[in-house]
């Protein structure tokens, strides 16, 4: 027999060991697509979750450049609030999702008070502040338990004025020997002394938090590097695409400036120059099109008139003359979810690709049909050269093209549109056997009505 379990448990047994509960909350949170701030909130939540379990308040500093900056301070402001919160959190059936939601509200509610009190608090590391707690803990990468804080000369005065407690624990957030921040914990309401057990548990949370911040930072750096690489690739490609027509225009213009140019040569050169300028216009148009920051929001619309408009456009009509164009659009099509203009451009791009891939005399087939109660499929099939498997793997990458004068922006654009409207693309193709693109869109029932 095989039993299946979920990673996420919706609620905790009241009698679960507190270590188990705390680690569960944290690891389940990392399982979710939460932001760094949300996950930090979860860690602080775990450290302050409930009466008698964990600490009363948790303060988070994150390292920003050479500074430790106050980021978040979680906990009740008054003993009354503490009592109320702990009562809520110990209500049977309250799961970690509710606890986090509760604390998220608490943090925003506390904007005026706790978190805000530390927002302007920053300690420069490697400076004299590093001689003082709490920055000292981060600088030395050591856990410090401070007792009798008001009599301890090594405590930063400004910090002490804010925290107003005589016992607190500093846990530096360290991963791969790099400091990422600091957590400060106290029991300002219950005044329960911080035990060695509390320190063990808090340090474990600190380790988990550090490793989480470390991997999140790495991920962010990776995304940034990928973005820069893509930008570099784009700049290089655009330079290349622009330079070829410019060289041609410049070269043939120079010829025109030479003495005794025959009429035939002049006409030929002017035609070449005009064609290259049109090519530059296309490149600029496509770039502007692709670089549009956001596509329009998708909405439901009637596809039939849009498909007809694209097919009847002069450019498509002109190109279609050399092919056998077979169009079949079902009647009574449902309304389709997409931005209508983007839909038209998608079809135009698919047709352009089909024409480019297919030798004159080939067949291009366009089909528009209802696939199921909730989906509509637009298909474009050609009898052209087909797409090889390695090309299939790369065809949605911007600037990847197999065309002599292509920009490699058509299919990435189609992909963006389909992603935006929650549609899918299915491609069937074999080299030499043509290609079939099936684009599936979501639909709304009600036929052609608007």
């Amino acid at each position: 027999m095989i039993e299946k379990y979920n990673f996420l448990t919706s609620e905790f047994q009241k009698d679960s060991p507190r270590e188990m509960m705390l680690l569960s909350i944290i690891s389940q949170s990392f399982f979710q697509p939460f932001s760094l701030a949300d996950n930090m909130l979860v860690i602080l939540t775990a450290l302050t979750s409930g009466s008698g379990v964990g600490f009363n308040r948790a303060m988070l500093f994150l390292k920003e450049g050479d500074r430790l900056r106050g980021e978040m301070w979680l906990g009740p402001r008054t003993p009354e609030e503490a009592g109320y919160i702990w009562e809520v959190l110990s209500t049977p059936g309250i799961g970690y999702v509710e606890i986090i939601e509760h604390n998220r509200a608490l943090v925003s509610k506390n904007e005026d008070t706790l978190s805000n009190r530390i927002k302007n608090l920053a300690f420069v590391m490697n400076e004299p502040t590093c001689e003082m707690v709490p920055a000292l803990a981060a600088c030395h990468k050591e856990i410090y338990l401070v007792r009798d804080a008001f009599r301890e000369p090594l405590i930063d005065k400004k910090f002490l004025e804010i925290i107003e407690v005589d016992e607190f624990l500093c846990i530096p957030l360290v991963a791969r020997d790099e400091v990422f921040g600091l957590i400060v914990l106290d029991n300002s309401f219950t005044h329960v002394p911080i035990s060695p057990g509390d320190i063990k548990l808090a340090s474990l949370c600190g380790l988990i938090a550090s490793n989480y911040i470390y991997s999140a930072t790495l991920h962010e750096r990776l995304l940034e590097a990928e973005k820069m690489a893509a930008m570099g690739e784009m700049a290089m490609f655009v330079t290349h695409q622009l330079r070829n027509p410019l060289v041609t225009i410049g070269g043939f213009t120079d010829q025109l400036l030479q003495p005794k140019v025959s009429r035939d040569k002049r006409d030929r050169n002017l035609k070449i120059i005009r064609d290259e300028i049109r090519r530059l216009e296309t490149i600029v148009y496509q770039m502007a099109h692709f670089l549009k920051v956001s596509l329009k929001e998708p909405g439901y619309f009637d596809v039939t008139p849009m498909i007809a408009a694209v097919l009847q456009s002069p450019e498509i009509q002109a190109r279609a003359r050399s092919y056998s164009l077979d169009v079949k659009i079902d009647s009574g099509l449902p309304q389709v979810l997409c931005d209508p203009t983007s839909f038209g451009e998608v079809l135009r791009n698919l047709l352009d690709n089909a024409f480019d891939a297919t030798p004159s005399g080939g067949r291009i087939t366009v089909r528009a049909r209802r696939k199921s109660k909730t989906s509509f499929v637009l298909s474009v099939r050609d009898t052209g050269k087909g797409i090889s498997n390695p090309d299939k793997a790369q065809m949605y990458r911007p600037f990847f093209t197999t065309k002599e004068k292509g920009m490699g922006l058509g299919l990435p654009f189609i992909k963006r549109v389909m992603d935006t409207c929650g549609g899918t693309i299915e491609v069937r193709s074999r080299v030499g056997k043509g290609a079939l693109f099936n684009l599936a869109f979501q639909t709304r029932e009600g036929g052609n009505s608007t």
Partner: protein, 117 residues
């Protein structure tokens, strides 16, 4: 007359090069891709090869590697729209790298340096 093979997928550029280098006294043969260039090289001999990098099918670097397998003694000029590859051309076994420009002066100078008129 010195013979030059121009490998370039832009047909209008091939035309420009054929006319302008023709005026300088060179006989230019154009090949629109690497395979056509290899076929030309098997048919007749050339004094110089000018090749683009980014072409459909095999690129210029792959072409140079194959030319090395055929004949190592033909000087090769890479003529590309990519400025950023200029540092790498020595490792690709080319003799010169000229970034495409509407003025063909640099290209003409390099040709003269490598094979004379």
């Amino acid at each position: 007359m010195k013979k030059i093979l121009v490998v370039e997928d832009e047909k209008t550029l091939c035309l420009l090069y054929a006319e302008e280098l023709g005026k300088e006294g060179y006989a230019v043969t154009a090949a629109y891709d690497a395979d056509a260039a290899l076929a030309e090289l098997k048919k007749k001999s050339f004094d110089l090869i000018i090749t683009d990098i980014r072409m459909p099918g095999k690129n210029g670097v792959e072409l140079i590697a194959q030319i090395m397998g055929l004949r190592k003694d033909i000087p090769i000029i890479i003529n590309s729209a990519y400025q950023s590859y200029k540092e790498d051309f020595m490792t690709w076994a080319a003799d010169a790298y000229v970034v495409k420009s509407s003025s063909l002066d640099e290209l003409k100078t390099k040709i003269k340096e490598l094979i004379g008129r």
